[in-house]
């Protein structure tokens, strides 16, 4: 656990990237406070509403191959540095509240059940792109490691990072609710538009799903950990102030 979450939220706030971003956004302290209060008041309602509407078995609309929008999928990363991962040495570690913790090579992941889907990827910025993702449904991976009954959340860590003032790289991370993780269209994708996933889009493995906003779909996934409760740090963008659920 400590290996996954190295920083407390307060320490993170002092990290260089945060202060830079906030000053660039020109947020005054009163405005920040007002926005925080509005969020605290309305988010429980928003989240209940979203969870009420969400059905783990209802599929998002899928599209025809000729409807794919090749150029529309923009690349948003926290760092301008694209992690380069040697596919031969890559391992996906799965642990936490599971009976059979494991570590998988890329070849092993590709031998597991495959799903292809052409879905709408929606970004928090408002744009959307129809894209094909191919890969292993996350639910299939989870079945294999046998989650314990108390596992309610999934923590994912990326090879991508945020650089602090001292130049140290902190991992990009995200947490998901279990119903969204076991949705049949939530994939550990290694294919985009019927080609091997490019490094910019998160190769060798990224999370891809039509049921969550883009910032929840983390790239360059290296670790998956099942948890009973949300940790103090619940997501890279979420800790900056975006809503945690981010459902569609």
């Amino acid at each position: 656990m400590s290996d996954f979450i190295r920083l407390g939220r307060r320490q993170l706030i002092t990290a260089g990237g945060m202060s830079l971003l906030l000053s660039a956004c020109g947020r005054g302290p009163i405005q920040s406070l007002a926005e925080q209060k509005l969020y605290e008041l309305s988010d429980p309602l928003n989240r209940s509403f979203e969870q009420l509407l969400f059905s783990p078995q209802r599929l998002a609309p899928e599209f025809r191959r000729d409807q794919i929008e090749q150029e529309a999928l923009l690349i948003n990363t926290a760092e301008d540095i694209t992690p380069s991962i040697d596919p031969e040495r890559y391992r996906l570690k799965v642990g936490g509240l599971v009976n059979r913790p494991a570590s998988f090579t890329l070849a092993e992941l590709k031998k597991m059940p495959y799903r292809s889907e052409i879905v709408r990827h929606v970004c928090v910025e408002g744009w959307a792109a129809i894209v094909q993702w191919g890969g292993l449904p996350l639910v299939e991976l989870l079945k294999g490691v046998e989650p314990k009954p108390e596992a309610r959340y999934v923590f994912l860590r990326s090879a991508e990072g945020l650089r602090s003032d001292s130049g140290q790289l902190y991992g990009f991370y995200e947490t998901w609710d279990m119903p969204s993780c076991v949705h049949p269209q939530t994939l550990l994708a290694y294919e985009k538009n019927f080609k091997p996933l490019p490094a910019d889009n998160g190769a060798p493995i990224r999370l891809a799903s039509p049921v969550k906003l883009g910032y929840k779909q983390i790239k360059w996934v290296t670790d998956i950990m099942l948890l009973a409760a949300l940790p103090e740090q619940i997501g890279y963008w979420v800790d900056f102030g975006y809503e945690w659920y981010g459902g569609l």
Binding site: Q31, S32, G126
Partner: protein, 199 residues
């Protein structure tokens, strides 16, 4: 025998308290949603993508994208629930039968000779048409908020871009109607009428 002419002061317009509350919340939440909507718009403009036209800061509510979204989703509830209880209210009190534009107003607009009557009919037409626009803003907003759960809304508009465009267009439409509504209210009932809906 004294004959005193009764003082002919025009009656002060009276509005139901419920209508005043509705009006205040509607106006306030609508402005907050417009300002925060422009903040969200600026993250990736509907017209022209990232390099497209951006709105200046003084029109914008919310310090950054996440902040703008917090404003938008807070006032979404206030605005939506306000519209809902008002809908129930006009049904229960049967105001829908005589408060909104009707056949007689449309006839007065086409054939009427009395300028006051025509003005009144036009005003009713304008404020009645506010409701379909507000409902359209909510409807297209719901489609963008939950495109999986309400995939049929996105389909109805043909594409994501068309849905965003219609959602965005409800803003100039609502602003235009608000302006005409205020001007006509001034013409129909002077400042007294305008004041009556707020105070």
């Amino acid at each position: 025998m004294t004959t005193k002419a009764p003082s002919r002061k025009p009656a002060v317009p009276k509005q139901a308290l419920a209508a005043k509350i509705f009006h205040w919340i509607n106006l306030g939440s609508l402005l907050a949603m417009m300002g925060s909507g422009l903040q969200i718009y600026n993250a990736n403009p509907v017209f022209g993508g990232r390099e497209g036209f951006h709105f200046p800061d003084f029109l914008i509510v919310g310090g950054w994208l996440a902040g703008g979204r917090h404003w938008h989703f807070f006032f979404m509830w206030l605005f939506g629930l306000n519209l809902l209880w008002y809908g129930i209210y006009i049904l229960v009190t049967r105001r829908w039968q005589n408060r909104y534009v009707g056949k007689n107003d449309l006839e007065a607009l086409q054939k009427g000779k009395n300028p006051k009557r025509r003005n009144y009919a036009l005003h009713r037409l304008v404020y009645t048409s506010m409701f379909p626009i507000l409902l359209m803003a909510l409807f297209t907003g719901l489609g963008m908020y939950k495109p999986v759960q309400f995939g049929w809304i996105v389909e109805l508009f043909g594409s994501w871009q068309a849905l965003r465009t219609v959602h965005f267009l409800t803003v100039p439409l609502a602003l235009g109607l608000m302006a005409v509504h205020s001007l006509l209210a001034l013409q129909v009932g002077q400042w007294k009428l305008v004041r009556s809906i707020f105070a």
